[in-house]
């Protein structure tokens, strides 16, 4: 085993890859994998949040409901997408799409890519925690197959708010954590500079989650990371999604829901 410092450095490299500005974002995957994507807008309550997008799209013979966190590429788009950090409206739009997917029996494909829900006064006033919690229940109970794929960053409750399902897939260089390393370092070490140690301690890489039995499958990326070849990354993601959906679609829905319940029930069971 190598020493702690080099493990921490290797983990931090994964964090930086997961956040690489040239990395493909949700819309890059959506357009490469699905046909006919029709984006639905608005939560029908307050507004439209561009940090969470979604709508029906074609995948082979079926229609799926896509729900995704979207980061921006240009400065203007980053601002428009709020750096992929959703407000309550984003989660409530997702809830609307979950309900609709259930009504039309569209499987859900969720793409997670956020450092977390937006920490803002307005988000608190409009009940960001309430919106996320409601989605956890809706996803646990939705009577359709749900596959989640973490594209880059899976940050905290903000990721989980669209991330509960039957299968958790992770891109090879993606991360998923209870808190971003900077936040963890600031809380536990009271020093944001300890983020590298925090990243290692949190066990947040795709390989870590697979080892802990939390992630089902790691989707391979092109050498050096998905930013080097969008097509190759999307092909691998598409193949994994098709395979997982086919397996889940063969399961009777009551069994599917019981399996989903047990999937979370066993985590931390004594």
């Amino acid at each position: 085993m190598t020493d702690n410092g080099s493990i921490a450095a290797a983990t931090w490299e994964q964090v930086e890859l997961a956040r690489h500005p040239d990395r493909p974002y949700a819309l890059d995957y959506i357009h490469a994998i699905f046909g006919n994507f029709f984006e639905l807008h608005g939560d029908r309550l307050f507004g439209d949040d561009h940090a969470i997008i979604g709508g029906p799209a074609a995948l082979d013979h079926r229609t799926v409901m896509v729900i995704a966190q979207q980061k921006g590429r240009t400065t203007a788009e980053r601002a428009m997408r709020n750096f992929g950090m959703a407000n309550p409206e984003g989660y409530r739009k997702a809830l609307r799409l979950i309900r609709q997917a259930e009504r039309f029996q569209f499987p859900i494909v969720a793409f997670v890519d956020t450092s977390g829900a937006f920490p803002g006064a307005g988000a608190e006033e409009r009940g960001i925690a309430w919106a996320i919690a409601e989605n956890l229940v809706a996803l646990a109970q939705a009577r359709i197959p749900i596959v989640t794929l973490v594209l880059g960053e899976g940050g905290s409750g903000g990721a989980l708010g669209i991330g509960v399902g039957d299968r958790l897939l992770m891109m090879e260089h993606s991360i998923y954590s209870v808190a971003m390393p900077e936040a963890c370092a600031s809380i536990l070490w009271r020093d944001i500079a300890r983020k590298v140690e925090a990243a290692q301690a949190l066990k947040l890489t795709a390989a870590d989650l697979k080892r802990m039995g939390l992630a089902d499958e790691i989707v391979p990326e092109p050498p050096g990371g998905a930013q080097h070849d969008y097509g190759m990354a999307a092909d691998a993601a598409g193949a994994a999604l098709r395979r997982q959906l086919a397996t889940l679609e063969a399961v009777a829905v009551d069994r599917l829901l019981e399996n989903r319940y047990q999937r979370y029930r066993r985590i931390g069971a004594t």
């Binding site: 006064a121 960001i128 309430w130 229940v137 989980l160 209870v178 829905v253 029930r265 985590i267």
Partner: protein, 303 residues
Amino acid sequence: MFRPKTRYVALPSPRAGVGEEIDRLKCPKCDTSLEPARLTTALGVCYRCGYHFRLRAPERIAMLVEPGSFHEEDQQITATDALGFKDSQPYSKRIEQSRASTGVNEAVTWGEATLAGHPLVIVCLDFAFMGGSMGAATGEKITNGIERALHNRVPLLIISASGGARMQEGMLSLMQMAKTAAALGRLGAAGVPYISLLTDPTMGGVTASFASLADVILAEPGAMIGFAGARVIQQATYETLPEGFQTAEFLWQHGMIDLVVPRPELPAVLRQLLDLYIKNGVAKDFELQPRANASAPTPAVRG
């Protein structure tokens, strides 16, 4: 961050010695020097300004349920260091210290009890144990409590006091949000009422899972309740936060909770709710209705 030592108050309870023994303590809000005996009689509410001191789980439960009716479950369940986590000190050592200093094995205590003549399941978080944070064992105990309420068809009362998910257990902590929420989904589908009481503080992944998923949400006056902390919000947005931001009263104004209840009035409010919801909510012969029947996959044809 928090100053637990000055904010807890020891109330008479069957488990003496659990609370902090403080000869004379100052109210953090009005700075008055308070007499412990008088403060205890006032249920840990400052008799000058109404500030609600934090309570330990055993005292809180003893204050609410009928004497002798509480039967604790899962007392032996305690946190484990699954990740081998180490910050300034190993997590395993932190667990040991927390157990020693609090006298409990986890940040939550639960069991069956009777309140105003109604059997119920009561789950109470304890901020003194690692900031009431939710790790795998915490989530397990909470979920066991929810499942017991479902099994017995008795109402559920969860009292929250937590900084959120427990960092030291990483993703295992985060997934407890999904676990507790899924269990509450089943409880709700079965028509078993759930009352959530939010106390100071209730934040992060706890607010964003079981604490906010109740049929009725109550909160204690002045309790800090939210998702992101004020400091994080200010660092991220440079916003000037409004007066009383994230207090129970603020959340009530924004429609997030049903009622702010001063501590002395809690028993009466809970009695009223249990009387109302149990008569209509949990019939003796109530059958579990899976949502399947309600939302069978009939393709909707519209317009």
